[in-house]
């Protein structure tokens, strides 16, 4: 079973994502509500994939992305963002994020992006 770490500061978003992913047969190994926890959990759980919200209370998602890529350069990361964040998203893609999902997302979109990223 592929293992996924969810990084999002909203409990609601995390719950939705988690349900979508577990229903689709993925294992959600952790949920991080902020950048600090995200970095810790990324190391601790070493997931197959991370979904990363770009706006987080402590650091920006970009810093988290850089932090993860520094220690785990091969980690697969998908950006989750809302409309209006195109600048950050583009930057994130440059830093090695695989793709992005725009909030509010549909189950199909999420699974499509996740499946694709995991196949790569």
């Amino acid at each position: 079973m592929k293992r996924i770490l969810i990084v999002d500061d909203s409990f609601y978003m995390r719950t939705m994502l988690k349900n979508m992913l577990t229903d689709a047969g993925y294992e959600v190994v952790g949920e991080a509500p902020n950048g600090q926890t995200a970095l810790e959990l990324a190391k601790e759980t070493n997931p197959d994939l991370i979904t990363l919200d770009v706006i987080l209370p402590d650091n920006t998602g970009l810093d988290v992305l850089k932090g993860i890529k520094k220690d785990q350069p091969d980690m697969k990361v998908i950006i989750v963002s809302a409309v209006g964040q195109e600048v950050i998203v583009n930057e994130a893609l440059e830093y090695g994020a695989l793709s992005y999902i725009v909030k509010p997302f549909s189950e199909e979109k999420v699974l499509e992006a996740v499946n694709k990223a995991l196949e790569e």
């Binding site: 909203s10 719950t15 939705m16 209370p57 809302a82 509010p104 997302f105």
Partner: protein, 544 residues
């Protein structure tokens, strides 16, 4: 039953109200320090989440309003809009209205956003700092603000774990005090300790209750999972659910989640036949899978029943012999219930030849271990051609369990009631030495019996489990336990009462000893060892 939509809604409202409170706090801070980037970023983040969440759940008025406010704040952040008095008023009004919209979600008459306010927001956003256009005065829709807090709180399960542990400790101390007050025979002490008894009991049930969740939270995931597996396997499956409103401890549910998924997967992949085969055996094309939960005394019973091809006991016997789990002569004589138990032997069912015809075994030992770990029981029943039923007996709560207390060689022991079948006294003459074990006839059923003192205390080199002469006295007290479809009678020295016990896990380095599931303290302050029935059964099998 709480549907997923209902759950999402509750989470949304609880989180949105939290955001609303934070927004109020931050905007008041901002009024004093308009240039504080940290506060601005935080407000921006909160509105941003609110917008995205509201849009996802479909509360468009909330997401639109959040969006407008977010735009205004991003302009302030970029120094394109002054945080002036008029702007502040509009923003405060906007956040107030956000609060009203959120708390009005459940109102029968929906709260409508004030068009004047929306227009004001558009004005400050579009005209930026150009204040030539008059902002219309907003009629305050709430004159006196009602302070209201959410009725719902979210709490981390580990805080509840901690509370439950403390309650456990409290119960142990309470029992000690009860027993002391009896000894001291002081009326005041008796009164206060019986009051203490009632309160701790109520506290215990309240904490246990706070940890309960509906089994539906797990069951409701299955329709989709079953659909997907069935689709992949080219099978047609009807899933029937029942008992979703039965409640169980959240951690227990968490622990059995994987096991249940595993059993469901197995039932579809290996249990239920393909439509063509089903047609040949006069079965309806669509396989039936029934997942049900019900209460049974203090336990919860979850059943998973399929109408598939069932388990071929003949093959299981053959494989058991091949794997040297049992001799060929013995295998034929084994009762069916014991033959089923081979399925849970490590690696038994992963063997390719078994998977082909019974297919039941892939990692069934893992399922059993998970259930053992929470003190539950797993039972399997199957009829060839008719289908298979897995029954999971689970405790409702982890911490407190009913147990049977007894003594062996002056040491107190307890066995959780979930594992005890019956208690009886038999005359020594009713026990028979057969081979190297003792057996007794219990209402027509031949059950293996073992003297616990011999099993636990004899020198392992000279242990004789089938030797009746090692028994003390004429009448033997026997606790019949059941594990893995197999009954075993345990002869004890002295039998005491049934009692609710709080099992304390053994701390390191003793936590690795699997013979004991933990310890409990009796009212007298004495330590009582809690025997782990799965481990004692395994130890017996290894030693006989």
């Amino acid at each position: 039953m709480k549907s997923r939509e209902q759950e999402y809604k509750e989470i949304f409202i609880a989180e949105a109200l939290e955001y609303f409170d934070s927004l109020n706090r931050h905007i008041s801070e901002l009024e004093k320090q308009p240039q504080d980037d940290r506060v601005l970023a935080e407000i921006f983040r909160l509105l941003h989440n609110l917008k995205a969440n509201a849009k996802a759940i479909g509360y468009l008025q909330i997401s639109d309003l959040s969006h407008k406010l977010e735009t205004a704040f991003s302009l302030i952040r970029n120094r394109e809009l002054q945080f002036s008095d008029e702007v502040v008023t509009v923003l405060f009004d906007g956040i107030d209205m956000l609060g009203d919209l959120i708390s009005g979600i459940d109102n029968p008459t929906p709260v409508e956003p004030d068009p004047v306010l929306l227009r004001n927001l558009d004005i400050i956003v579009d005209n930026l700092s150009d204040s030539t256009i008059e902002l219309a005065k907003v009629q305050r829709f709430t004159n006196s603000k009602n302070l209201s807090l959410s009725d719902l709180i979210y709490i981390q399960i580990k805080k509840l774990d901690h509370m439950l542990n403390l309650v456990g400790e409290l119960i142990i101390d309470r029992d000690r005090i009860m027993s002391l007050s009896k000894e001291l025979n002081n009326d005041d002490l008796k009164t206060v300790s019986s009051h203490l008894y009632r309160i701790t009991e109520e506290l215990q049930y309240s904490v246990m209750d706070a940890r309960l969740v509906n089994i539906g939270t797990l069951f409701n995931k299955f329709p989709r999972i079953v659909r997907d597996i069935a689709f992949a396997e080219h099978k047609d499956i009807n899933l029937e659910l029942s008992g979703q409103d039965i409640q169980i401890d959240r951690n227990i549910l968490q622990i059995i989640t994987d096991s249940l998924l595993h059993l469901v997967r197995n039932a579809i992949t290996h249990g239920i036949e393909k439509p063509e085969q089903r047609a040949k055996s006069n079965k309806p094309n669509a396989g039936l899978l029934i997942l049900s939960a019900q209460n049974d005394r203090d336990n919860v019973v979850i059943k998973l029943k399929d109408d598939g091809k069932g388990i071929d006991l003949k093959q299981v016997r053959k494989t058991a012999v091949k794997k040297n789990l049992v001799s060929a002569e013995l295998a034929d004589g084994l009762p069916d219930s014991e033959v089923f138990s081979f399925l849970f032997e490590p690696g038994f069912s992963t063997a390719a030849e078994v998977t082909e015809y019974s297919g039941r075994g892939v990692g069934l030992d893992v399922v059993k271990n998970a259930i053992d770990s929470i003190g539950g029981r797993l039972h399997v029943d199957s009829e060839l051609g008719q289908g298979t039923t897995f029954t999971l007996h689970l405790p409702t709560s982890i911490a407190v369990k009913g147990a049977l207390l007894f003594e062996v060689d002056n040491i107190f022991y307890a066995i959780p009631l979930i594992h005890t079948e019956q208690v009886l006294a038999l005359d020594k003459d009713e026990l028979h030495e057969v081979g190297d074990v003792m057996v007794a006839d219990l209402k027509g059923e031949t059950v293996t019996v073992v003297y616990l003192n011999e099993l636990l205390n004899a020198d392992e080199a000279t242990m004789k489990l089938g030797d009746k002469t090692r028994l003390k006295g004429q009448v033997q007290n026997i606790v019949v336990v059941s594990y893995n479809n197999r009954k075993l009678g345990l002869i004890v020295d002295k039998l005491y009462r049934q009692q609710d016990i709080v099992v304390k896990a053994l701390s390191k380095p003793l936590d690795k000893i699997d013979l004991y599931g933990g310890v409990t303290l009796l009212g007298t302050g004495k330590v009582c060892l809690v025997l782990d029935v799965p481990a004692i059964t395994r130890y017996f099998i290894q030693k006989r």
